[in-house]
């Protein structure tokens, strides 16, 4: 048992040992005001296949300093997939959005949903996954204990088992909710200006124009074109190369 666990731990550590060094190097370059170099190093962390909140957050900062506000917003949005309740992230996103052109009014929403969101965003997806795993393991242990106790004894044990399984189910539902958010197909416009058409064809009717930094929802894709939807519900086809998925 211990051997298996330490094997898993070792595997995890060896896969992700290098990103930390690259990450530290990128932070050093940022502090030395070499923002282009820092951006390259943070991108290198990601290209190694590893990712986390801090890397995306810092990459957003770096692109902000390079005045590439579209990429800054893209990376802040990616960071928010990992953790949403960081006030610093909200501050930086707001700061970056001051530099973008498009203003799209989101539809009116009941305040209670904001509260619900605020509550459920208290835990990030990865924290939730750990919570669900712990509760799952605890429930399993309580179930297993039954094997050693004669029937008809220990009411408290039964109650603990039921409670634990209920909590585990709750955390699983919460996790699934968060995972749906994590997998949302969204993208950010990265070019200064791009036209949106009524069909995947630049000869079709132009519907509206978007600018760098605007967030859109991706719906479907055909070769070179993506169907997008704005927060206010408008839809259209946009050249796939002008956006990048969050």
């Amino acid at each position: 048992m211990k051997i298996i666990l330490s094997c898993i731990l070792l595997l995890v550590l060896t896969v992700y040992a290098d990103p930390v060094a690259t990450f530290d190097e990128a932070v050093r370059l940022y502090d030395a005001k070499d923002f282009a170099g820092a951006a390259g190093a943070f991108e290198a962390v990601l290209s190694e296949g590893a990712a986390n909140y801090e890397t995306y957050f810092n990459l957003g900062n770096t692109y902000f300093r390079l005045n590439q506000f579209g990429k800054a917003i893209l990376n802040y949005e990616r960071a928010s997939r990992y953790r949403q309740n960081d006030p610093e992230l909200r501050q930086n996103l707001a700061e970056a959005r001051r530099h973008i052109v498009d203003r799209i009014e989101p539809p009116i929403r009941l305040v209670i949903w904001d509260w619900v969101d605020q509550f459920r965003q208290k835990l990030g997806l990865f924290q939730l996954s750990v919570l669900a795993l712990i509760l799952g393991a605890f429930s399993a242990i309580l179930v297993a204990v039954r094997a050693f106790v004669a029937q008809g004894r220990g009411d408290w044990l039964r109650r603990a088992r039921t409670g634990s399984i209920a909590l585990f189910a709750l955390s699983a539902v919460w996790y699934i909710w968060a995972a749906a958010d994590f997998g949302r197909a969204e993208a950010v416009v990265l070019v200064e200006k791009v036209d949106v058409y009524s069909a995947p064809d630049s000869g079709s009717k132009q519907l509206f124009t978007l600018h760098e930094g605007t967030k859109v929802a991706k719906r479907q894709a055909v070769s070179g074109w993506t169907n997008i939807r704005l927060v206010d519900g408008r839809e259209g086809w946009i050249s796939a190369s002008s956006i990048d998925g969050i």
Partner: protein
């Protein structure tokens, strides 16, 4: 004799002229080029007073740029006085072609006098004119006097100084030149460079002729826009001595040195040529502090005090000193602390107009600290472009610290000193700083449930629990299938529980159950019921190292049961219950003894 006669005759003619007033118009030359000046002289012979100002008629394509300048002349010839008045106008040719100066009119004693018209031939601006000597270098001048405009550079950066010297050349006697029109220079900021009061004359030879020359004006020009800029001509009026060969009248007998004592000084107007200066834009790469200063500067900043009470004024002076266009130096950008009330600075310049314009510009700020504490005036940074090295330079002054005391309050007697409260206003916003330490890394773009490790960790406890339950259940089943001693004891105890329930209503059933339970325990595994003989049982259990006492009580109950079965009618609920209790005690006792024995076996 003949000479005397001629003299008399000419004197008569002259006198008759004098007696008969007339208005004569003349020009200094009849051929000019466009843009060149021309002098029109109207002479009224006959009287110097009572003459109305002349009314000029149509001037054609000529523009009046100056005049009339009036001069009177009085002469006494043969005892008779004659006087004349001369009006001089400065004109300028505007367009090419023949131009007619129409007759001018004056009114004298109620009579009107008219001058004769004059035709002027105006040539194109660049054309060579027979009237103009010296080639194209000095247009618009007579042979005897002309002006040149000499820039020190033809190509400068925007804001860089170009010095233009205006030099007058002359080879006749000349009065002090008087500048009638300073050059207009659109696209330039102009500063005059101071010259000594006295003209400094030098000898020069131009085109083989000896001239005297003097710099009469020096201008420092600072281009304010880029491109090819033009400096318009400068006009100068002076008087030169009339030349013998320029007499209007071939019979003028006064053109004799003897008669020149009256000094016929002829007014002339000369113009400098237009000059062109190319202003280059400043190179790229200006630092962010750059606001347009060009030259070479030093900056200093001073506070008049280091300590001050709150609400007391303190003076902060920034001085920028150096070469360049001092007057237009932009104000440095200073981020004063918010706790200061500041007023717009008082700007003053101290400019020395030597060959290169230089001096000091001061920005004097009055600051009133509103809150006590150590206040810091941050570093001042100021950038300028140095045209000599073609580089931008950043200069600055270090930060200054001002210690603000509590102050004495704002004066109402008896009131406690207080500071004015203000909202804290943000002066800027920025993104939050980096995350220095990375948290744990995850596979990029994958939610936890999309990884193998997640499912491994999630399923592991359940697999463990499942296998545990499975193993236990199987062991129980196996126990039930192949009876062991402990299993038999467990089942016997269970059976006694139900026997206890039956004991009240149905003592016979209870009896049967007790007997079977006891048999279950006593009968060795694998043995048949026929082996239920005391000797065999005793031998068997003794081999298993079971103490005889435990066995004895079981055998006693077994016998009691056998006896009771023959007299079921006497077996009531009370005896059934006692039997069950005895059996339970005996089996429990047997189990306690048997368990260690079985384990060693």
């Amino acid at each position: 004799m003949i000479r005397g006669l001629l003299l008399a005759l000419f004197a008569g003619v002259l006198l008759s002229y004098a007696a008969d007033p007339r208005l004569v118009a003349s020009v200094d030359r009849t051929t000019v080029r466009v843009g060149e000046p021309l002098t029109l002289t109207l002479s009224f012979d006959g009287s110097s007073s009572g003459v109305s100002n002349p009314a000029l008629s149509d001037l054609g394509g000529l523009q009046r740029t100056g005049g009339p300048f009036t001069s009177t002349n009085m002469s006494i010839v043969n005892g008779r006085a004659s006087s004349s008045i001369t009006y001089t106008y400065r004109l300028k040719a505007l367009k090419e072609g023949k131009v007619l100066i129409g007759p001018a009119k004056v009114n004298y004693l109620g009579k009107e006098f008219e001058s004769q018209p004059i035709t002027i031939n105006v040539l194109a601006a660049g054309a060579a004119s027979p009237a103009t000597p010296g080639g194209g270098d000095a247009p618009g001048t007579s042979d005897n006097v002309f002006i040149r405009a000499i820039p020190d550079k033809n190509e400068v950066y925007v804001g860089e100084q170009v010095t233009v010297s205006y030099k007058i050349f002359f080879n006749v006697q000349m009065t002090n030149p008087e500048i009638t029109q300073l050059p207009r220079a659109a696209g330039f900021w102009m500063e005059e460079i101071s010259l000594p009061q006295q003209l400094y004359l030098t000898d020069e030879v131009i085109n083989g002729k000896a001239y005297k020359s003097a710099v009469i004006r020096k201008l420092a020009l600072f281009p304010t826009s880029t491109g090819d800029l033009e400096v318009e001509p400068m006009d100068v009026a002076t008087k030169i001595q009339r030349q013998a060969n320029r007499s209007r009248d071939p019979f003028d007998i006064f053109n004799d040195p003897f008669f020149r004592l009256g000094s016929q000084m002829e007014p002339v107007e000369v113009s400098s040529p237009k000059i062109k200066i190319r202003a280059k834009p400043l190179p790229d790469g200006a630092p962010p502090e750059f606001a347009g200063a060009v030259g070479n500067f030093k900056l200093s900043a001073t506070l008049d005090r280091n300590q001050v009470g709150a609400n007391d004024a303190v003076t902060f002076v920034v001085r920028i000193q150096g070469r360049g266009n001092i007057k237009t130096l932009p104000e440095p950008v200073i981020q004063f602390p918010q706790d200061f009330d500041r007023f717009d600075p008082k700007q003053s310049e101290d400019i020395s107009r030597g060959a290169v314009i230089n001096g000091t510009k001061s920005f004097e700020y009055v600051l009133i600290p509103r809150a006590p504490g150590e206040q810091r005036i941050p570093e001042i940074r100021y950038a300028y472009f140095d045209p000599e090295t073609d580089k931008y330079q950043v200069i600055g002054a270090p930060p200054l610290t001002l210690l603000v005391g509590r102050g004495t309050g704002e004066g109402v007697a008896g009131s406690a000193p207080s500071v004015a409260r203000r909202d804290v206003t943000s002066v800027g916003s920025d993104i939050a700083y980096l995350k220095k330490r990375p948290g744990s890394f995850y596979p990029r773009g994958k939610a936890p449930h999309q990884t193998v490790i997640f499912w491994t960790l999630a399923s592991f406890p359940w697999l463990l629990a499942g296998s545990l339950l499975f193993v236990t259940a199987r062991r129980r089943r196996a126990e039930a299938a192949t009876p062991t001693l402990m299993g038999n004891i467990r089942r016997a105890l269970k059976q006694l529980e139900s026997a206890d329930k039956h004991s009240q209503k149905n003592p016979a059933d209870a009896l049967r159950l007790v007997q079977s339970a006891v048999t279950m325990v006593l009968l060795p595994p694998g043995a048949a019921v026929t082996d239920m003989v005391d000797e065999r049982l005793r031998r068997f259990w003794t081999e298993k190292r079971i103490e005889p006492i435990a066995l004895d009580s079981l055998i006693r109950i077994q016998n009691e049961c056998n006896l009771a079965r023959f007299a079921v009618g006497n077996f009531d609920a009370g005896s059934a219950r006692r039997l069950v209790q005895d059996a339970r005690a005996a089996i429990s006792q047997f189990g306690k003894v048997a368990e260690p024995a079985e384990q060693t076996a």
